[in-house]
Amino acid sequence: MSSHVDPSAPLQGEPTKNTQRKLKKEMRTQLVSFVLMIFITSMAFLSIASDAIPSGFAIPFILLLAAIQVTLQLYFFMHMNEKGTAWVNIMIWSGLFIAVLTVAALMLLIGVVKY
């Protein structure tokens, strides 16, 4: 084991069979989620662009789509589904939890309705 390897140096040789299979699978996941993202985005656009859908339905619908899309992006595009991301998961979800709870409570507290 040489002591000082440059971690950013380009890799030598061909990837193994196993790695090739993994890369292929990864490519497929990326493509599928990409198509899914386009689909979700166009659904969101359509629900606003079309006059047939009332905004009382469209707004919560878009928020739901946004939540789904953020989660998918975090896990598939930002690789939070991979091994060794436990701490990233913990920190992001606890941060989101606190942010959502705080913002929701704040909206109730300074809202028009007093409880």
Partner: protein, 610 residues
């Protein structure tokens, strides 16, 4: 840069450019101590003013400025940097690392704090300090004339950036840089509580940043977020401030809890009672800290349901805190207790802090809070938790870790005088304030009328403040007269954790070989189950070190220049300042900086000498 080149520097340049976590820790301590003395001076001036009824020692306007700057300085510029000093110095040593994860960011965080603090204090000399209380409630703060509040907004924004950077740095360090064998549940409790405090910093400081940004836009650019006649809402500031402000008090107290959890087992010669319960309680306190902010606002008129929810959530915090108190007591139980100065601070902390906790539960009772709100009862409460908790922790930690940090032991006799004078002065100052508050004395008043039964207790309170000042001067004297106590500085207390395995003063690479951790209280385990030395987890070899750099100073300096530009609306100054900051960042980004290696011969020579 080669090893030889890295060594040949003059002293001032060395400290300005250092990225060594130990030197940055010491600079945090020095900066924090300076601001602590400054905040203490402001407190003394206020106490002199309140010594007699209708006394005219300082004017009401000056009094407002003193009380604002006392609170702001003590929280942001004294308590937090002092804790950051210990965290910087001790965490890498406790987890067996050679430095923090991002040494450059570490230096940047320190310089941002220092320049932010200095900027805030420049306001004294240019037409008056901020005068709206450390909470800076709008519309008082948004309408305050002069530039005092502008200094508050920009000084805290710059300093807060430094704190956020520091917090993220500690998180990454603790997650990624633990020595082999040091699992999360083998980490010393100071590291654990600093870890949770850093999480709180990460999640709480953005709220302050947003609040300060809104206030800055309001004051400097005529924003209307808080202007009711334009559809704004003044209550938003209070919420944003306390969403940050309540976690902030746990950011302060949790590392102090950690310090006590190091001191008590060491001087009771027992391992910490209920380690996993302590970790769990720390996490629960951190979590609940975000759920209770509105208990500072019971009298705002949020309605009975909201008040009740926040009251119950607040009282719930007493449960994990109680777990901690009982665990400390049971750590002492049956132990061979040594009454060193550090341990005296820990022992004095327990009853003092419990008193602050009890008044905390009283304040959490939202119905009764209508009586307590904005009286001296509140002042007494938070000084009991902050002095009785944080400050005693800082002094205890100073006596405990001083030999490791500076290579000499503080004088114990002087230390005990200091402890007893300080503890007496502290209780004398603040115990009577509970009753002043219950008798109706308002907090933040610049004076009071005679003949209402407030005179004698105010006088006693001021005498206590003098006693604390004398005690603190004794501590400063102790620092200078003890410099010859150099023997037995490496492990003077028969320590349990990894920092005591290093020589004092600690070499810049910390550990010649990364230690192998085999149990909780790793060093204690090796002392009693092994041969008294840490097993090495790697062969002796060259050690890679980061280069020092002046860029953190320049980045911070640029922000300060830009801040002056914003305060006085001088556009060229803003452009020049931001130019320096972003220019330095650009240089940092494109300049290759691989650091240097300490040759193995050098390390071997150190080992033979030590």
């Amino acid at each position: 840069m080669s090893y030889e080149k890295a060594q040949s520097k003059n002293v001032i340049w060395d400290w300005l450019t250092t990225v060594d976590h130990k030197k940055i820790g010491i600079m945090y301590l020095a900066g924090g101590a300076f601001f602590f003395a400054l905040g203490g001076l402001e407190a003394i001036l206020m106490r002199i003013q309140l010594m007699f009824p209708e006394f005219s020692f300082v004017q009401a306007q000056t009094f407002n400025e003193l009380l604002t700057m006392h609170g702001t300085t003590m929280i942001f510029l004294a308590a937090m940097p002092l804790l950051f000093g210990f965290m910087n110095f001790i965490i890498p040593l406790q987890i067996g690392a050679r430095d923090v994860a991002f040494p450059f960011l570490n230096a940047l965080g320190f310089w941002l704090f220092l320049f932010g603090g200095l900027l805030l204090n420049v306001s004294w000399f240019v037409g008056g300090a901020p005068d709206a209380g450390w909470t800076a409630y709008v519309p008082l703060s948004s309408e305050s004339p002069g530039h005092g509040l502008d200094y508050y907004v920009l000084g805290l924004q710059v300093g807060g950036l430094g704190t956020l950077i520091g917090g993220i740095n500690f998180l990454v360090t603790i997650i990624n840089m633990r020595a082999p064998g040091m699992s999360m549940m083998r980490m010393p409790l100071f590291t654990w509580s600093s870890f949770v405090a850093s999480m709180l910093i990460l999640f709480a400081f953005p709220a302050l940043t947003i609040g300060l940004l809104l206030l800055m836009l309001e004051r400097l650019f005529g924003g209307t977020f808080f202007a009711v006649d334009f559809g704004g809402n003044v209550i938003i500031w209070q919420h944003l401030f306390w969403i940050f402000g309540h976690p902030e008090v746990y950011i302060l107290i949790l590392p102090a809890f950690g310090i006590f959890s190091e001191i008590l087992p060491t001087f009771a010669k027992k391992r910490l009672f209920g380690y996993s319960a302590m970790v769990f309680a720390t996490l629960i306190i951190g979590f609940l800290g975000f759920m209770v902010w509105a208990h500072h606002m019971f009298t705002v008129g949020m309605g009975p349901v909201a008040n009740a929810i926040f009251a119950v959530a607040t009282m719930a915090i007493a449960v994990p805190t109680g777990i901690k108190i009982f665990n400390w007591l049971l750590t002492l139980w049956g132990g061979r207790i040594q009454f060193t100065t550090a341990n005296l601070f820990a022992l004095g902390f327990i009853p003092s802090f419990v008193m602050g906790g009890v008044t905390g539960v009283m304040l959490a009772t939202s119905a009764a809070n209508y009586q307590f709100h904005d009286t001296y009862f509140v002042v007494a409460h938070f000084h009991y938790v902050i002095i009785g908790g944080v400050v005693l922790g800082l002094f205890g930690g100073a006596f405990y870790w001083w030999p490791k940090m500076f290579g000499y032991r503080l004088n114990e006799t002087l230390g005990k005088w200091f402890f007893w004078l300080f503890l007496t002065g502290f209780h004398l100052t603040f115990f009577v304030q509970h009753f002043l508050g219950l008798m109706g004395m308002q907090r933040r008043v610049a004076s009071y009328l005679g003949g209402q039964g407030l005179e004698s207790m105010n006088f006693i309170s001021t005498m206590g403040a003098f006693l604390m000042t004398i005690a603190f001067i004794l501590f400063l004297i102790n620092i200078f007269v003890s410099t010859n106590n150099k023997e037995n500085a490496a492990d003077p207390w028969d320590g349990r954790t990894l920092e005591w395995t290093t020589p004092s003063p600690v070499p810049e690479y910390n550990f010649a070989q990364t230690p192998l951790v085999r149990d909780l209280d790793a060093y204690w385990y090796e002392k009693y189950e092994g041969d008294g030395k840490m097993k090495a987890a790697e062969p002796l070899g060259d050690i890679h070190m980061p280069n020092g750099t002046i860029l953190p100073v320049l980045i911070s300096l640029g922000l300060i220049i830009a801040s002056f530009g914003f305060i006085y609306m001088v556009i060229p100054l803003i452009i020049a300042g931001l130019g320096v900051t972003f220019g330095s960042m650009f240089v940092r980004s494109i300049k290759e900086d691989h650091g240097y290696h300490i040759p193995v011969e050098e390390i071997k020579r150190d080992k033979e000498e030590g």
